[in-house]
Amino acid sequence: MLLVATRKGAWILHGDSARRTWRVDGPHLLGQVVNHLVMDPRDGRTLLMAAKTGHLGPTIFRSDDLGRTWKEAARPPAFPKVDDGTNGRAVSHTFWLEAGPASEPGVWWAGTSPPGLFCSEDGGATWESVSGWNDHPMYSKWVPADSGTPDGPLLNQIVIDPRDARHMYVATSTGGVFESSDRAASWAPLNKGVEANFMPDPYPEYGQDAHYLAQSRVRPDRIYQQNHCGIYRIDRPADVWERIGRNMPADIGDIGFSIVAHPRNADVAWVFPMDGTEVWPRTSPGGKPAVYRTRDAGASWERQDRGFPAEQGWFTVKRQAFAIDSLDPVGIYLGTTGGELWASSDEGESWHEIVRHLPEIYSVVPAGAA
């Protein structure tokens, strides 16, 4: 199953066992701006959706019946009310939804724009502001008031260590990566070695734009990062990132939005490079879409483009729209801003389009069995 969130609603794709034929179910909540649609891995059934509309404020919808019915959160993520007369923060949209560990049923985390962290203890019905992040003394430094992506500044990802649920990482568009070892009560930057070439100091303690993190499931100390400024890897407890994107072909570069890691081999990861030259078109370099795979933890990369357009293919793939399943061989999926969904069921060797003409795709999430 693939959960596809778009700027105009959500779709659920049901695949056959070969992941070759897909039944398209949708739209769900047509017209809602859906940033993330995820399934609860703890029950393999519950769906949570982060939505807003062009007019209406942000909310969370939950479905227990694969989208036949949706129930809205009684209290969606929202910053605490401040005294009248001050310019308090308001959630524009929820960008990322993360299920808690199996040991914490009902726990969900949410990342928002502006960068906020919220937690639900009741399956997503009511959400509380996480003070350890939202009221951190350094918040105004880590989240400058004038910062942002075109869709606003983001706390765009939450990663929970599978060995220790108190150990968390968040990725932000305004300050880079931050780490907590006490279940989000306190945070520290984790950005050494990561370039921020748009800052006066190109290697600041914070201020980077961390597009996406891919933590190895089999070796959780290894984290890959697609940053605004290149592709990186870190092997904890080291605290310095290595720019493995330097090993990409020079004419392709290492700019992109996302990276995925192989579920069973910590040395294998894929990226979808986009053009970061001159005015940053962020389309497939040369109009020739391809993924690049490393099988040696970033020391070398190989091009995989069979099935993609050989020319005039100007794909843009956003950070949540590049995904990997856990089957063998693994399937890889990418959704474009042009509403095309592409898949590989052979670890990137060949690609085929499985649906087209959707609205702008924001996220693609494999869920349950294919």
């Binding site: 509309t53 062009g54 007019h55 404020g57 959160a73 929202a78 401040v82």
Partner: protein, 86 residues
């Protein structure tokens, strides 16, 4: 009093374009509306009690700037979705 709802809020009112709610201020009325139709208030008013960017609320034909606007017994409140782009 009468509250006129835009299309994008009618999923909360079982499709009704016009509903009743009570209150002596706009804030009171929206609280009452939220009791009748849970969740509707947060879609149009943010957590700092500001009317959302692409929403306008008219009271008797005048734009209401904040939730303190006083309501008379026969006031008509109209919520409008305004210019959010394509």
């Amino acid at each position: 009093m009468r509250v006129l709802l835009p299309t994008m809020l009618r999923s909360y009112s079982a499709g009704a374009a016009e509903v009743d709610a009570a209150g002596t201020t706009l804030g009171d009325l929206l609280a009452d509306l939220d009791r009748r139709f849970p969740g509707i208030r947060f879609r149009v008013i943010d957590e700092q009690d500001r009317v959302r960017q692409h929403v306008r609320i008219f009271v008797d034909g005048e734009v209401a700037g904040d939730l303190g606007v006083a309501l008379a017994g026969r006031s008509v409140v109209q919520i409008v979705g305004a210019l959010s782009g394509g």
